[in-house]
Amino acid sequence: MEQRYEFNKSLDTLTQEIIIMGSLVEKNITRAIDALANQSLEIMKEVIETENTIDQMELDIEKNCISLLATQQPMAKDLRKIGAALKIITDLERMGDYAENIAKVTKRIGDEELIKPLIDIPHMAQLTQGMVHYALDAYVKENKEQAYQLGENDDKVDHLHNQVFRELLVLMMENPSTINQATQLLFVSRSLERIADHATNIGERVIFLVSGERVKIND
C-alpha cells in the first residue's frame, strides 16, 4: 500500500470539495447576472439558496483542514496545500457573497425599466466567471503559469469597471432620475470587479502551493 494512504485520500477529497464549492460560486455569478438581466426574482431566490450551500461548504472544508492540521502533522507541500485551501475557501466564500449582492439588486430595481441595456456588465460577469474557472483549473493542475495569466484578465475586468463607472456617471449627470438604478448597477460592477480580484488571489495561492513563493500577481 502506498505510504500515508488515508492522508493522501483526505487531501484528494479536500481538492474535490474545493472544486465543487468553486463550481457553485461560478454558477452563482452567472445566475446572479441572469436574475438581473431578466429581472427575475425566481432566479434571485435560487442564487440565495445556493449561497447558503456555499457558506456551509466553507465551514465544512475549514473544519476538515483544521482536523488535518491537528491530526496529520502536514509538512512541506502537504502543509502548503492545506494552507492554500484555507485561503482559497475564504476567497470563494467572499465571491459567493458578492454574487448574492448582485442578485439582490434585482429586487431593488424591481419592475423599473433598465436605464440602459446591460452589455458591459454581462461581459464583465462572463470574464470574472471565466477567471474563477481558470483559477480553479490552475489549482487542480497545479499550473503556475496559468495562475500568472489571471493577471491579464483582471486588468480587463478593471478596465471594464472603469468604463461602466464613467458611463453611469454620464447617465446620472444627464438625468438625475436614473441615480437610484445607476448606483445599484455601479454596485454590481464593483462586485464583479472584486470577484475578479479574489480569483486573482486564488491564483496567488496556487503559485504558493506549487512553488512556496508568495507573490502578488497584479502589482
Binding site: Q3, R4, F7, M75, A76, K77, L79, S211, G212
Partner: protein, 258 residues
C-alpha cells in the same frame, strides 16, 4: 553568563566527513557548517547516521572500536579529529545529552558537581554556586533546591533529563549535542525541555537529533537532512519544512517514506 568571547559565524565546520563501521560506510562525504548561537536540527530516518554524526562531534565515536573516520571537523578552526586533541577538554567544550535520561546513581547535587570536581574545582562555595547556576539554567532549581541531597533517581523522567542538561552545563560547555532529548518524555516535559533549549541557545550552540518533525520545525533555526549517511540538504528550518529543495527531503518530512 557564558563568556565565550568570539564572534565567529560558525562553531563547527565539517569537511568531507566519512565514517565506516568495519566495512559499512555510515557517513559519506558530509560537509556542513554549524552556525553559532543557533539550534541546528539533524533529521533523517532511523539508521541514516544522525547519532553517528553527533558522536563524531565530540569524539564519543572513539568508544566504538570498529569505527574509522576521515575528513575534518573544525571546532573554531581546529581539527578535533587529530590524534593529539585532549578529549577531556573537547568533551567539556562540547557536551552531550542523551535520549534516555542517564543521571548518576548519586545525589542531585553530586550529579551536577561531578564535572566541575573532576576539573579540579574544590572550593565548596564555588561548587555550590555552579550547581545552583546550572540547575537554574536548566529550569530545575525551583523544583529541587530543597532536596539537593536526595537521589537523582527519585526525580521524574522530565526532571532527570533537565538534571542531565544541568550536568552538561556545569562544565561550562560551548556546544550542546542532544540526541533525541525528549523522545522518552511526556508532552508537558517535552515542552519544558523545548522552552529550555530555546533559552539556552542564547548562550550555547546546540545541535539536536530528533525524530519528531514538528519538534525540529518548532525548535531549530537550521535543519540538516541525512539519508543513508549522506547530507541531502541543509538550510533554514522554515525553508526545509515549507519548501524543501530536494524531492527526498520532501518525501521524508511529509512521511511518504522513511
Amino acid at each position: 553568563m557564558n563568556n565565550h568571547a568570539n564572534n565567529n559565524a560558525y562553531v563547527l565546520n565539517i569537511r568531507n566527513l566519512n565514517l565506516w563501521y568495519g566495512k559499512d560506510q555510515a557517513l559519506t562525504d558530509v560537509s556542513v557548517d554549524i552556525e553559532a548561537q543557533k539550534v541546528t536540527a539533524v533529521i533523517g530516518p532511523s539508521g541514516c547516521g544522525k547519532s553517528t554524526f553527533l558522536k563524531v562531534l565530540n569524539r564519543l565515536i572513539d568508544l566504538v572500536p570498529s569505527a574509522r573516520v576521515n575528513g575534518e571537523v573544525l571546532f573554531y578552526g581546529e581539527d578535533i579529529l587529530k590524534n593529539h586533541v585532549n578529549l577531556v577538554n573537547l568533551r567539556t567544550s562540547i557536551g552531550m545529552v542523551f535520549q534516555k535520561p542517564n543521571p548518576f546513581p548519586k545525589s542531585i547535587y553530586d550529579n551536577v558537581a561531578y564535572g566541575p570536581k573532576i576539573h579540579g574545582i574544590k572550593s565548596r562555595s564555588h561548587l555550590e554556586e555552579i550547581v545552583e547556576e546550572s540547575l537554574k539554567q536548566a529550569a530545575l532549581w525551583e523544583e529541587v533546591k530543597d532536596r539537593l541531597n536526595q537521589s537523582a533517581m527519585s526525580l521524574s523522567g522530565g526532571q532527570q533529563q533537565r538534571l542531565c542538561i544541568a550536568r552538561a552545563l556545569a562544565n561550562n560547555p560551548e556546544v550542546l549535542l542532544m540526541d533525541e532529548p525528549t523522545s522518552a518524555l511526556d508532552p508537558a516535559a517535552t515542552h519544558r525541555i523545548e522552552d529550555l533549549i530555546r533559552k539556552l541557545k542564547e548562550d550555547y550552540h546546540i545541535v539536536i537529533v530528533t525524530h519528531n518533525m514538528q519538534q525540529a520545525a518548532r525548535l531549530s533555526d537550521r535543519t540538516m537532512f541525512l539519508l543513508n549517511g549522506e547530507l541531502v540538504e541543509c538550510g533554514d528550518t522554515e525553508t526545509i519544512f515549507t519548501n524543501p529543495e530536494d524531492k527526498r527531503t520532501e518525501d521524508y518530512i511529509t512521511g511518504r517514506f522513511g
